[in-house]
């Protein structure tokens, strides 16, 4: 059965012009055109149990931009709120309507060879280096949305940590959209070379002035031998923005990645998170939290693939579903033949807060090796009436008691976010979404 493909609202000629304006090297423009070709042929992904055929992934303007500012206080207030602590502003890259408008990297890090810049600059100034990693952890031709990311990319971030460089201060990226009908097509590449260590946090925000818009995000993380990456994210796009977000990591021998994801979009969202534990002794820790509200539909696929021996993964998903929201949570742990001594654990818990909401947690273990440990737990439940009674018996009103329970339920993940400002941001967001 073949699906009727809609004609895409963009073509080769305008993409070439767009690339020329950005002074991109040939390989990058070729990648765009390859992406375009594939986007025209390939179908949308087919997430389990979520119908996305009528989501607007394609109609938006990607040729947008903003001019550079010299001071933080020239930026929209919601961005400034994230920068209150000073700690956050030390190493930061801020993008407004897809283009970088403000950047700051400490001299100490520059001196150590750290590269932290927006993708457009990286394409021009670090072309060869970037080319080694661009679309390496995921393929352009995975489906129509990855292909579109290659074709239309208009934003993104490149972070490169050389061998043995250990960074204590967090590095932060903020994306903010406010142009009407705009689309953020961002591609982020984080490379942590051997025995390096870094904490990276990205936040995605938008203003309601965007109206109907789209976000197509492909984020790749390359964790070198014995390197450590803490990757935090807070997604909070407004309700009319359709999001496709793919966060992929490849981890070499004895490397370690920690994902801490706050998936708080108000609009329809398709999320793919995948970690490939290639090297022996590689480890992944994935923590994701989300709240469904309104009539939004979301699909979260969290995937860990164990290839190396004695690889370890721990996946913890917690979500609350309000109103008439509908979310599917897939957790897939795959242990390949040869990955002896692997240990993969996953837990997904969904708390239902309304009769009209829907939430499904699907645990999937695929194991091709004998000598492994693997476990899964998945539950979909309601607020415990005894807990509610207990809190109310101390004089706390029902709505507030429910709020405390939900916030408490999500707290174990929020507490793990690596930056104080981001934790605060997520806590405020949870309070707003639950309240």
């Amino acid at each position: 059965m073949s699906m009727q493909l809609k004609k895409l609202p963009f073509g080769a000629e305008e993409i070439i012009k767009f690339a020329e304006k950005r002074k991109e090297p040939k390989w990058f423009t070729d990648t765009r055109l390859k992406g375009l070709g594939l986007a025209e042929e390939l179908p949308l992904p087919k997430p389990e149990k979520t119908r996305i055929a009528d989501w607007n992934f394609t109609n938006f303007s990607y040729q947008i931009g903003s001019s550079v500012v010299s001071q933080l206080n020239e930026l929209p207030e919601s961005i400034q709120n994230l920068m209150k602590n000073g700690e956050e502003a030390a190493n930061v890259l801020i993008h407004v309507n897809s283009s970088a408008v403000y950047s700051q990297l400490s001299k100490e890090l520059t001196d150590q060879g750290v590269i932290y810049t927006d993708l457009a600059t990286a394409v021009r100034e670090h072309s060869d280096l970037l080319a080694n990693y661009y679309f390496k952890t995921t393929s352009i031709g995975k489906h129509q949305l990855t292909a579109m990311n290659a074709a239309l990319v208009n934003g993104g971030t490149f972070l490169y940590i050389p061998k043995n460089v250990v960074i204590e201060q967090p590095i932060q990226a903020v994306y903010y959209q406010d142009a009407p009908s705009s689309g953020l097509v961002a591609h982020t590449v984080v490379v942590a070379e051997q025995s390096s260590s870094v904490t990276f946090v990205e936040s995605y925000l938008s203003d309601s002035s965007v109206g109907e818009g789209a976000a197509n995000l492909v984020n790749e993380v390359i964790v070198g031998e014995n390197a450590q990456v803490k990757y935090g994210a807070v997604d909070e796009f407004t309700d009319q923005i359709v999001t496709y977000v793919s966060r992929q990591a490849e981890v070499a021998k004895d490397g370690r990645i920690q994902w801490a994801l706050g998936q708080m979009n108000d609009g329809n969202t398709l999320s793919e998170n995948a970690t490939n534990l290639e090297g022996d002794g590689a480890a992944a820790d994935i923590k994701a939290v989300s709240i469904g509200s309104g009539t939004q539909k979301q699909n979260f696929d969290n995937y860990v693939r164990h290839v190396g021996k004695a690889t370890q993964s721990q996946l913890l998903v917690r979500a609350a579903q309000k109103d008439a929201s509908n979310s599917i949570f897939n957790a897939r742990t795959k242990i390949e033949h040869g990955a002896s001594g692997a240990d993969g654990e996953q837990t997904q818990r969904v708390l239902m807060l309304s009769d009209d909401a829907r939430g499904d947690a699907n645990p999937i273990l695929l194991i091709d090796e004998y000598d492994v440990i693997a476990g899964h737990a998945a539950s979909v439940g309601r607020v415990d009436p005894d807990q509610l009674y207990y809190l109310m018996s101390r004089g706390i009103k029902q709505e507030l008691a429910e709020k405390l329970i939900v916030e408490g339920f999500l707290a174990p993940i929020v507490d793990l976010l690596p930056i104080e400002g981001v934790r605060r941001q997520l806590t405020t967001l949870i309070e707003r979404k639950v309240g």
């Binding site: 415990d384 009436p385 005894d386 807990q387 009674y389 207990y390 809190l391 109310m392 018996s393 101390r394 004089g395 706390i396 009103k397 029902q398 507030l400 008691a401 405390l404 329970i405 916030e407 408490g408 339920f409 999500l410 707290a411 174990p412």
Partner: protein, 261 residues
């Protein structure tokens, strides 16, 4: 300020369609300590839960008034704000919510918007009460009852009691699971509350607690009713004779229960 009053009349309670409490009467005033004793499964906790408003317990008839206000017209949180407190036999755990946040929310819920307790005052008060109960400071930041030992949960109930300063408290087997020292600390906590403005109903199986918190009245409950009321000597008598002795004295047979059920 007038002395608070709790009046319970002919209370009847069913759980899942089964009648458990069958005509329970009790009047309490501020300043009084009452003890409620009785065999397992006789309905003591059911009385407590019904008064607090647990959704599983259906009040089929009878009244309960706190200072003239009908408790059964109020939601659980309203009863608490009106001055009721129940230290539960099996307190719930609430993951992710710190004890301090929980207590502050509860206190502020009672005080109302615009009249919140100043943070420093709250911390100082909580510190002091925790010291009195010999609770480690870390319990302020730990999640409500999560991973608490049996005895720690009980002390945490008394901490809440002391922080919330209700008019009436029901302590349901607050002594079970407490070691001898902890029993004294808990008793000290309860005794520190004693005043004209505070009345307390202590549900217990053991005379020992009553050595530390002297009751004014002791009530014996059997088959869903209070069958005998007396002074502290009643608890001593019970300790000696057991419930069988009491039953013989009162002419109660166990059959009565099965017949009624």
């Amino acid at each position: 300020m007038t002395v608070p009053e709790l009046k319970i009349n002919d209370l009847r309670v069913s759980v899942e369609g089964k009648s458990i409490v069958k005509g329970f009467d009790l009047n309490m005033k501020g300043g009084e300590i009452h003890a409620l004793m009785g065999p397992n499964g006789t309905g003591k906790s059911t009385v407590a839960s019904a008064l607090m408003g647990h959704p599983k317990y259906e009040v089929t008839s009878g009244q309960a008034h706190l200072d003239g206000q009908n408790l059964f017209d109020m939601a659980v949180d309203e009863r608490a704000r009106a001055g009721m407190f129940l230290a539960m036999q099996y307190p719930s755990e609430v993951s992710g919510v710190s004890n301090a946040d929980f207590l502050r929310t509860a206190i502020n819920g009672r005080r109302g918007e615009g009249n919140e307790i100043p943070l420093m005052k709250f911390i100082k008060t909580m510190d002091k009460k925790m010291q009195l109960l010999e609770m480690d400071q870390s319990f302020a930041e730990r999640y409500v009852n999560e991973g608490f030992s049996g005895g720690e949960k009980k002390r945490n109930e008394i901490l809440q009691l002391m922080m919330l300063e209700p008019k009436f408290a029901i302590l349901d087997e607050i002594d079970s699971g407490l070691d001898i020292d902890a029993l004294k600390w808990v008793a000290k906590g309860v005794n520190s509350m004693r005043s004209e403005n505070f009345g307390c109903l202590i549900i217990t199986h053991y005379q020992r607690l009553l050595n530390y918190i002297k009751p004014d009245f002791v009530h014996i409950m059997m088959n869903g009713q209070i069958v005998k009321t007396g002074g502290p000597e009643l608890a001593l008598q019970l300790e000696k004779e057991g419930y069988d002795g009491m039953k013989t004295e009162l002419g109660i047979t166990d059959d009565e229960k099965t017949v009624e059920a």
